[in-house]
Amino acid sequence: MKNFSLKIATPDGLVFDGEVESLLIRTTEGDVEILAGHADFLSALGIGRARITANGEKRFAAVSGGFVSVRKNEVNVVCTTFEFSDEIDINRAKLAKERAEDAIKSKKDSNAEALLKAKLSRALARISAWELGK
């Protein structure tokens, strides 16, 4: 398969820089898979999983915030967090999920609910990326 160059940057630095075959990522509009030769493209990212395929090997990650841009076969992902499955603290994610669920059940405040739901979906993204990466 043809490769393209992918860069992933977070505020803590460049987490990935290399040639890959495919990138599957969750945008605000839904999952998008990018292969080599993709047309110029730009989209904001939602909270969810990402999958990188390089040399036939798949790696999973949890992503939140930011955007993905494709330009002349160069792909940049700029996001607030990007954690590969082997970097995810699964116990912490599970704890965060339970806490967020409890808080959503017990509270009726709509402002806090949006925040809690974002917390919950981040935790769910981490758990599912971790399970896929096992």
Binding site: K7, G13, L14, L42, G65, N76
Partner: protein, 281 residues
Amino acid sequence: MAGSSMNDIKARIKSVQSTMQITKAMELVATSKLRRAKEKAESSRKYHELLREAIADVSSTNEAKASLWSEKRDDPKTLYVAVAGDRGLAGGYNSSIFKMTEAMAKGSKAAVLPIGKKAVEYFTRRGYEIFDASNAEAADFGVGDAMKLGAAITDAFLDGRIDRVVLVYTRFVSMMTQLPSHEELLPLSTESEKDARDAMYDGDPEEFFLNTVPQFIGGAIFSSVCEAVASESASRRSAMNSANKNAGEIIDTLMLKYNRARQAVITQEITEIVSGADALG
């Protein structure tokens, strides 16, 4: 009397020596902090560059040109995000940021968002309109804090409470050079070095901006705080280094004075003894 001036000089030498001990310790602390801060600044710089590139790309497309994000408003009220340090004793580090901000804010409508204890104190005392004074710890400033500010600033921009956003911070060029610099974040600049292209938007472009601009501003603030923290340590290190050199020089001259005074006392005593012996003989 020569004896008392000798004691005076001795006391001064002691006091300079104890000051030197403090400045030496501060230099060591700044050096070790600098190493960590430098790594952090360098890794966040890449993020900042990619963000800026992408935003420039997006802004150069036609959708963005028409959008309210890049429109220059009349008689704008500018929000200056001023990043300075938590402590003094870092040479001109804090004051050059204050000077730069004030020079730009002069004669126009302005508000300030200070980051760092010194900046909060300075701009509050000067009577500036403060956007948010809760960021008094530049050293502990995290990604979460930056993203919150990014969202708050974007809200204020959309509400029309502010019309322009300028970031003022100290750029970390090298261990020896730190440059006070400024960068306009909003309205988005429509001038791009590359040709304007129509990027393919997935969904509504306004939606994209609404999602991305707060992150762009938060990211720019975070990365500039990282640079500023590294710059602060570097400029404190060089300030303390020259303080050490100064103290060494002062001690040397005082030593010379002390020895001279001691010599004068001895000479005087000999003269007295000789003349006393002469009078007896």
